[in-house]
């Protein structure tokens, strides 16, 4: 197919959208291959929903270009704005937006009726998709009789029934309770795999993003901070912001003193006026002499009673909360409070002196 020669299936180029005097989305570009599941992750106001709405055509954009396959959706420069109904997109909304005056079947059949699919085929396809989302028994219920989770499934069924080019999710799980949310994550991902429709998923929940996505784009203030697979984003964040936003990290300000080989070096941090040098991996854009932030995940900090190789940081246990599989510790080190995950066998006690050993393989210096 022609579109595959042009690389990405969905391509967003230099998207800019202003709300009043503030740029909600400030010149972002990305592309995704056909069938992929991309998550836009960030706190509220970071521009993720605005980006999604721009792709959906639910609002106009100020400049840039959005293309799916060979169809240009929006391009102000070329004067193109395809209305939302002509974009062939399925969308799952935060409020589910299941029409209360229709039954589940009527809701799900709606996109097919609009596309003038023959009635017999509509019946078959609606039955298939309801089976896929597990709502076969609810087919004739009014939408208002469904629970939150069931409305969510109905909304998904309606979004995928017409096998659209693109599937958009706008924080679809945020109104569900925790247990249901965890269950629906897996379910959603399974269904998306099964139908294989290219998807963009918007969320502020990092664990949701890590579980479901092929790729994640972390956004803040209308910019893309980092793009990558879940493992990459988690283990190799490019800057302090991403490191802080995804998972839990100990972030200590320091300065790069030496680059020993590409991607590795030493960073100087200060403890009680005494400089300590830490060997670590270096993130992109980190060079000798530059300011950096050391990012260490709590599970990569080892709290020990002896200063094994003499390079550990000496601290005092502030708090040790036993959580069964692990112990959640806070260790005071100078003015800094380390978050440490320790093994229950270590039996750390409050007030005890400990030595924190950092694993050079899992210690990363990133841009502030």
């Amino acid at each position: 197919m022609n579109s595959e020669n042009q690389g990405a299936y969905l391509e967003v180029e230099n998207l800019v959208k202003w709300f009043g005097d503030d740029p909600a989305v400030d010149n972002i570009s990305f592309g995704i291959p056909k069938g992929a599941f991309l998550t836009l992750l960030g706190p509220s106001g970071c521009g993720k929903t605005t980006t999604l709405m721009s792709v959906a055509g639910l609002h106009s954009i100020d400049s840039g270009r959005i293309r799916v396959g060979d169809v240009v959706y929006t391009s102000p420069k070329e004067g193109i704005f395809l209305p939302p109904e002509k974009r062939d997109i399925g969308m799952v909304f935060q409020s589910y937006a299941i029409w209360p005056h229709m039954t589940v079947t009527q809701n799900v059949a709606y996109p097919l009726e609009i596309r003038k699919v023959p009635q017999s085929e509509i019946d078959d396809r609606v039955a298939d998709v309801l089976a896929l989302v597990g709502l076969t028994d609810m087919a004739e219920k009014m939408a208002t009789q469904l629970s939150g989770g069931q409305q969510q499934r109905a909304s998904l069924a309606r979004a995928i029934v017409a096998q659209p080019r693109l599937l958009l999710f706008d924080e679809p799980l945020s109104n569900l309770d925790l247990k249901l949310r965890e269950q629906m994550r897996v379910e959603l991902k399974r269904i998306q795999n099964e139908v294989g429709i290219t998807s963009i998923y918007v969320t502020h929940d990092q664990s949701e993003a890590l579980v479901m996505s092929d790729e994640i784009i972390v956004m803040s203030k209308g910019h893309i901070e980092q793009r990558g697979g879940p493992l990459e984003i988690y283990s190799r964040p490019v800057n302090e912001y991403v490191s802080n936003f995804i998972g839990v990290a100990n972030l200590i300000k320091g300065r790069v003193v030496k680059v020993t080989e590409p991607g590795r070096g030493t960073v100087k941090i200060t403890d009680h006026g005494k400089d300590i040098q830490v060997t670590c991996n270096l993130g992109p854009g980190i060079s000798e002499g530059s300011d950096a932030v050391l990012s260490v995940r709590p599970e990569n900090v080892h709290a020990e009673r002896e200063n094994g190789n003499g390079t550990s940081l000496e601290g005092e246990v502030l708090q040790a909360i036993f959580l069964g599989s692990h112990v959640d510790c806070r260790v005071q080190w100078g003015d800094f409070e380390w978050k440490v995950i320790a093994h229950p066998r270590a039996r750390l006690k409050q007030g005890e002196k400990v030595y924190l050993r950092l694993d050079p393989e899992h210690t990363l210096a990133v841009q502030p």
Binding site: E85, I89, G90, M91, H101, Y110, R115, A162
Partner: protein, 583 residues
């Protein structure tokens, strides 16, 4: 990609693309409706303003520009008095209506008055009926010689002379006061019902008694509602034509509205002076409504801590029967007595003030309602047919407009939405007779003058905001995502409107439609300015009968109108539910 090197053909298709992107169903409908609403609202007011500076020369041939009309307002023999009378009537009826409305609302919302759930619909009936017909009924009850009550007082109680004389300025205060009491009631009852009961409870725990708690806590909390209601009553009374026309104008108490009427169609017609009077009235009312909308209405929400309260009602003890009796008396005086009187009068060939059972006949109904018979009275016949056309057609068109306007205000963010929002509030500030004067001077030389269209235009312009409010209330409660998900499912803007938005708004649309149907069916103060032979409306028919025929015939047509209105009120209650009007 570089734009500089684009060839001419691409350049042209760029503009074609841009144009195509702009010409969506949504934009086209939006522009059309904005233009219609803008023209309908602004044109008559503008023309009214301009006309008020045209001074007619004494011969009535030519006009010159100037402030002459405004000078006449002060130097005329009648107009200054009419102005004072209007002020007296508005103030008096506001006091009466506020007293009645607040006390009735309090009894119904906050006390254990027996049967209060059954009383409420009847308390609201006067709101829907025609005050003009109320005036006709009360004329037949309280006229010194032929008034039913005066005759009963003489015959049964042996009272000399007359018990009362309703045909005075105080009679106007009385009838407008009791007919507009439900307006205050509606403004107050909602917030009383939603009020957090703990506010009152905490006052009680400090040792304040029932009376003191009500006066120092309950009423101050609903003060914005009371003030809103009072302002609306003041404005509505100032713009009321039918009641002073029937009860006070013939006996020497002219008002601004009766004066505008005589300048519009009377023997001393002077449209420009009429326009000037309408302008003056309009400036006063629009100022008061602006105060209400800008400063008072927004506050009414701050007193309420949210819905979902089931306020515990106050136990009035044995006084609850007094409250019950008080409420029953209101319903008796405002609804039962006038309607009973109209029925009695309508059954007599001539009305002398005495009930004569053996003389009773349905002949008056035959002459006014049986329009297919040759002896039917033409004005009544025309009135019935025209009012039905206007009520069915007008409310349908108005609701379509209301729907599109509400949609634009709540669902589009584009240019002109704020203007449209403003335009859909403006007509509420102008009494019907003022707007009608504007429509008259605007369209008098166009072909729509003397047709039903001019009436339809004025009705819709004046009243579509009421329909729009009914829809807006629901639209604000419905998530926009319900519309958006339809667009994403592939449906066009219009299909979405038809299959998703309208079905969801159905209750609001229907309630609004019936409300407008009721308003249009009884409308007098616009019709009286704009009608001509052949385009009489129902209320104009009643006006014709009371002016040129006799009271029994008038009563018969009045009853017919009242019965249709009562049926419509019943349907409205069924579809709209209790809170529909209080928003």
């Amino acid at each position: 990609m570089t734009t500089q090197s684009l060839p001419r053909t691409v350049e042209r298709s760029l503009w074609a693309n841009r144009l195509r992107a702009l010409l969506t169903q949504e934009n086209i409908i939006t522009i059309i409706v904005s233009l219609i609403v803008g023209a309908a609202v602004i044109l008559p007011l503008l023309t009214l303003f301009v006309s008020s500076f045209k001074v007619l020369d004494p011969l009535g041939w030519d006009t010159t520009w100037g402030f002459g009309n405004y000078v006449t307002l002060f130097t005329d023999r009648i107009i200054p008095k009419a102005f004072v009378n209007t002020l007296i009537i508005s103030t008096g009826s506001t006091i009466l209506a506020t007293g009645l409305g607040v006390s009735l609302a309090w009894i119904n919302a906050r006390t254990n008055c027996p049967g209060r759930d059954y009383l409420e619909p009847y308390n609201l009936i006067p709101f829907f009926l025609s005050p003009f017909i109320g005036a006709i009924a009360w004329h037949n009850l309280g006229e010194p010689q032929t008034g039913l009550l005066n005759n009963l007082a003489r015959d049964v109680f042996g009272i000399e002379g007359a018990l009362m004389n309703i045909d005075t300025i105080w009679g106007v205060v009385w009838v407008t006061g009791i007919f507009f009491a439900p307006l205050v009631y509606l403004f107050v009852v909602g917030s009383l019902r939603r009020m957090d009961p703990s506010l009152e409870d905490s006052a009680r725990t400090t040792g304040a008694g029932l009376w003191r708690t009500t006066m120092t806590v309950t009423l101050p909390l609903v003060m914005p509602g009371i003030l809103s209601g009072a302002i609306i009553v003041f404005v509505t009374s100032a713009g009321e034509f039918g009641v002073p026309f029937k009860l006070s104008a013939p006996y020497g108490w002219e008002t601004l509205t009766t004066q505008i009427f005589s300048k519009a169609v009377g023997d001393d017609a002077n449209h420009f002076l009429g326009a000037t009077m309408a302008m003056s009235l309009g400036i006063i009312t629009v100022f008061l409504i602006w105060i209400q909308q800008r400063y008072i209405a927004p506050r009414s929400f701050t007193t309420v801590t949210g819905k979902g309260f089931r306020p515990n009602v106050l136990d009035l003890g044995k006084w609850r029967w007094l409250a019950f009796g008080y409420n029953l008396s209101f319903i008796f005086v405002a609804v039962i007595l006038p309607i009973a009187c109209l029925i009695i009068v309508s059954l007599h060939p001539v009305w002398t003030g005495k009930i004569i059972p053996e003389a009773m006949t349905f002949n008056n109904y035959v002459k006014t309602l049986f329009f297919w018979r040759p002896d039917a009275i033409q004005a009544a016949t025309n009135g019935i047919v025209n009012s039905l056309i206007l009520a069915f057609g007008g409310s349908t068109i108005a609701m379509v407009m209301a729907l599109v306007v509400s949609y634009m205000i709540h669902r589009t963010k584009g240019f002109g939405v704020r203007l449209l929002d403003f335009l859909s509030v403006v007509p509420i500030g102008f009494p019907g007779i003022v707007l009608a004067m504007g429509v008259l001077v605007t369209y008098i030389q166009t072909p729509i003058y003397a047709t039903l269209w001019i009436l339809m235009l004025a009705y819709i312009t004046r009243f579509f905001p009421y329909g729009q409010r009914n829809i807006s209330a629901i639209m604000m409660a419905i998530s926009e995502e319900l519309d958006q998900s339809s667009r994403m499912a592939g449906a066009s803007w219009f299909t979405t409107l038809w299959r998703i938005t309208i079905p969801l708004l159905k209750p609001g649309i229907f309630a609004g439609w019936i409300l407008l149907f009721i308003i249009f069916l009884r409308e007098l103060s616009i019709s009286i300015i704009l009608f001509s032979t052949g385009t009489e409306t129902l209320s104009v028919g009643v006006y014709y009968l009371t002016n040129f025929e006799n009271e029994p015939l008038t009563a018969a047509l009045s009853m017919a109108q009242t019965v249709v209105l009562l049926i419509a009120i019943y349907v409205f209650r069924r579809v709209a539910g209790r809170e529909a009007l209080t928003a």
